[in-house]
C-alpha cells in the first residue's frame, strides 16, 4: 500500500473472470503521517481509504472483465460500512464480485477482511469510459504487471 501515491492494492491473489470475482491483498503500512493525525495515540485507517481500497479492488476486477479496453471510474458509493478498526501493519484482504454490468456502468459488491474478521463492505457503481489518455493506459498496464495481474488469464478478443 503506497499511501503517498494512492496505490492501495499490493497484490492480486485471485482473479476469476468466469465467476467475476477478485481477491486482493493490501498491506497497511506500519507508519505514515496519516496515522499521526488519524488519530494521535490511536492510529487507524480512515474509512475513506478503506472505501478507496475497495474501489481499487473492484477496478482491477472490472479492468479484467473489460479486457483493459475501458477504464472504470468510481461514481456511486452505497452501503459503505466500516465494521471494525484497521490498524497500521495489518494485512487487508479484499474480495470483490461483479453485481451487475449495465450499459456504460458496472456495480460491484466488496468486502474487506483482516484475517477472518470482516472490517468493511460496500456496493460500488463505476462509470466505464474509454481511457482518456494513452499514457494512462500504459501506466495501468505497468501497474497491472507490478501487482501480479494475471494477464495470461485474459480472454483474447
Amino acid at each position: 500500500m503506497d499511501l503517498d501515491y494512492f496505490k492501495l492494492i499490493d497484490r492480486i491473489v485471485d482473479l476469476n473472470l468466469d465467476a467475476k470475482t477478485i481477491t486482493v491483498e493490501a498491506q497497511v503500512p506500519t507508519a505514515h503521517t496519516i496515522f499521526e493525525g488519524h488519530f494521535p495515540g490511536f492510529p487507524i485507517m480512515p474509512g475513506v481509504l478503506l472505501t478507496e481500497s475497495m474501489a481499487q479492488s473492484s477496478g482491477w476486477l472490472l479492468l479484467g472483465l473489460l479486457k483493459f479496453e475501458r477504464m472504470p471510474f468510481l461514481a456511486i458509493v452505497k452501503e459503505a460500512k466500516m465494521r471494525g478498526f484497521v490498524s497500521p501493519g495489518q494485512l487487508l484482504t479484499i474480495d470483490a464480485k461483479l453485481e451487475h454490468e449495465g450499459s456504460g456502468f458496472a456495480v460491484t459488491k466488496v468486502k474487506g477482511r483482516v484475517g477472518k474478521e470482516l472490517k468493511c463492505s460496500a456496493e460500488l457503481t463505476f462509470g466505464l469510459s474509454p481511457f482518456p489518455d494513452p499514457a494512462f493506459r500504459v501506466h495501468m498496464d505497468a501497474m497491472a504487471e507490478k501487482i501480479g495481474f494475471p494477464l495470461h488469464a485474459m480472454p483474447h478478443g
Binding site: 461514481a75 456511486i76 449495465g102 450499459s103 456504460g104 456502468f105 456495480v107 457503481t125
Partner: protein, 101 residues
C-alpha cells in the same frame, strides 16, 4: 397505465427522492424531473434488475448525439416504459428461441 410505467415511476421516486405524485407519464426525466446522469446510472441499475434487462443507455445516447433520435423517445417516462417493454419482449423471444419453445 402500464405496470411498467408504475414500476419506473416508483424506482425514480425512491432513487431520486422525488415525490411520487409529481411524476407523470408525460414527465421528461431530465427536463422535467431534473435527473442527472449520475442519478440515471442508479435508476438504470434498478430498472435492469427489476426487469432482467440491460438498458442500452450508451446506444440511446449515441443515437441522440447523432441526431437519429430525440431525448423524448427515451426519457419521457411513458416512452421509456415502451422501450423497456420492447427490451423485455426481445429478451423473452430470445429465451424462447434458445430453448426451442
Amino acid at each position: 397505465m402500464s405496470s411498467t410505467y408504475d414500476q419506473i415511476a416508483n424506482i425514480i421516486a425512491e432513487t431520486c427522492d422525488i415525490p411520487r405524485d409529481t411524476i407523470k407519464p408525460e414527465s421528461h426525466a431530465i427536463d422535467d424531473l431534473g435527473i442527472d446522469s449520475l442519478d440515471f446510472l442508479d435508476i438504470a441499475f434498478a430498472i435492469d434488475k427489476a426487469f432482467g434487462i440491460k438498458m442500452p443507455l450508451e446506444k440511446w445516447t449515441q443515437e441522440v448525439n447523432d441526431g437519429k433520435a430525440t431525448t423524448e423517445q427515451y426519457f419521457v417516462l411513458k416512452n421509456l416504459a415502451d422501450r423497456i417493454d420492447e427490451l423485455v419482449a426481445a429478451k423473452n423471444a430470445s429465451a424462447g428461441t434458445s430453448t426451442g419453445s
